[in-house]
Amino acid sequence: MDVKITTEREKEAAAYLEKHKIFDLMRNLTSMLFFYRPDDPKEFLIEKLEQLKQARDQGQKAPSLLSHSNLDAAFGIVDPANERYVTFAQYKQALISLGMKDINECPDGVNDDKITYDTFITEGMLSLEKCSATYKQP
């Protein structure tokens, strides 16, 4: 009997953490913390959590470590010859390495295997917003 209760309790906790995207939230927060290394980590976390709360309630942009310039630079890495095109595999790998999930498998140009710079940036920003919105979707 006791065996079942314990496992249930653990399952409940795991399910709760999954539903509210707590691990993603913690990942974002700790990445930002370790990158900026503020003198007062608690104040910093409070600030980021407030921003996240506003993003959730008022539809503003959630705080995240990466931005447009990072996507730009990532594109630059995979496209050193400056052709303004990358293959689908490169596009996917670059976004995965930046930590994105839910990448659009069918962006514009996938049929020719030529993802343009603009498509890359647009898809990247969309994925970034999804990753930063670490709260339960209503």
Partner: protein, 504 residues
Amino acid sequence: MLIFLPPRLWLLESQLFSSEWTTASVPQSRKEREEDFLFFLAKESAAFLLVPLEVPTMEDGVRPLRVPPQMSIYADQHNVIHLVQTMVSGLAVDQPEDPIAYLLLLLQESSVHVPRVVLLGPPAVGKTTLARKLCADLGAVHVTMETLLDDQSQLGERARRCALGRQEVPDDLLVDLIQERLKRADCFNTGWVLDGLPQTRLQARNLQQGGVIPKHVVLLDAGEDVLLERRRGRRLDTLTGDAYRETSARPRDDAAEGRASDLQRHRCEVTGMSAAYRHVLKTVDGDQPPTDVYQQVVAFLRTRRCSRTPRVLLLGPPGSGKKHQAKMLSDKYKMVDVCCCDLLRWAEADPSWIGEEVRTYLQHNRPVPNGVTLNVLQERLNRADCSQRGWILHHLPCDLQHAKHLKRSLNAPNRVFFLELTDAVCLHRTAAKRTPTDPGVDAATVRECDDNARTVAHALGVYRTHTAGLQGVFPDGVHVDADQDPRYVFEALDRQLTVQTHTH
């Protein structure tokens, strides 16, 4: 490579957690694992601190990313891991509907240091006296069986009915009652001290599952005769009206039996409960004067389990047992044992740039200059195995230059131990190491021994001249008396390694 690099960093701090928990027996059986709900939480919160992600390269290949040491230093300084762990365990246990608001509350109230103490011990050992004093000083809420029975809630009613009916309060009712009491605002904000509860291992487990997880558990212990003496004394003080108990024979026997059965019950349960709370338990001898007991408990409460990459430096005169202690500690915590004497040998065999440099000197039979040895040390400590598992360093060359360089670098040690030993004992120990056991010792060996004795004496002299300087470089170094059995020295070092005292 480009400078844009803040990729999503995931630290390889899971090793920290495993080194923390290897000291306790790793739960093997299902039963043990069930009881360690907190272990599960710690694992879950460590689970997301995983292996670093890969960086895309031009060849479509991937390369694992190494965590910069600044991050691990920052983590240690601000105790980030503990903060994150508190946040995740709070969320997993309480499961609030709005996690963001909950976290904001948690961080703003800085309730990370709220006292959550459980006092265990046989009857009449002095728990209540201690608990009252603690609550008065820390401002926490004192919770005992009596206060629970007085509680003005539905559960309290039912408990009172059981007590009036001379029945034992059933386990699940008791656990629910405790949970409810501790979740109320006053306990949540200012902390609590549970006196004499839980009574059994089963209750402890159910409490843990219900989210009541103490940060410190104190077990007061005393010999049986001391306890019986105190109990008798207590009876005289409080039961002034019941004079008949002293004269009539039968009630005294019953009372004596009652005492003995309480004690026996405690003795049966104590091993189970100590095992359940083994991660946060401390045993204090209840047979001392109350002020001493109080001092020890308060000192214990100020310590906090900290998870950090160990970077330990052992300093001491020749013969103080540095190598032995380093080996024992590195075996226990899976740290890397770095001996400065072997550094050059390691560098010689190393294929990288530092190995090249060292080899050129050794090939031409030139002594390796100080600057190069400093670089070798830094390079060794920067390697992946040292920065991930932590290191314990000993036999540092006795000059302040090495010590200062180490302190200023990114690999500054976070624990420094000075092993104290008098000169006479040093010489005795080093001589004992070298003395051949063969009784047929000839003149040449004796001369060799004398030479070695002279080198040891010289090394000792050098160490003594630099001691004051070293203590200046590492002002928060801990002095440990090395003139005892190696096991005691090991225990002393071990204790200092895993606790962190905080003054606020």
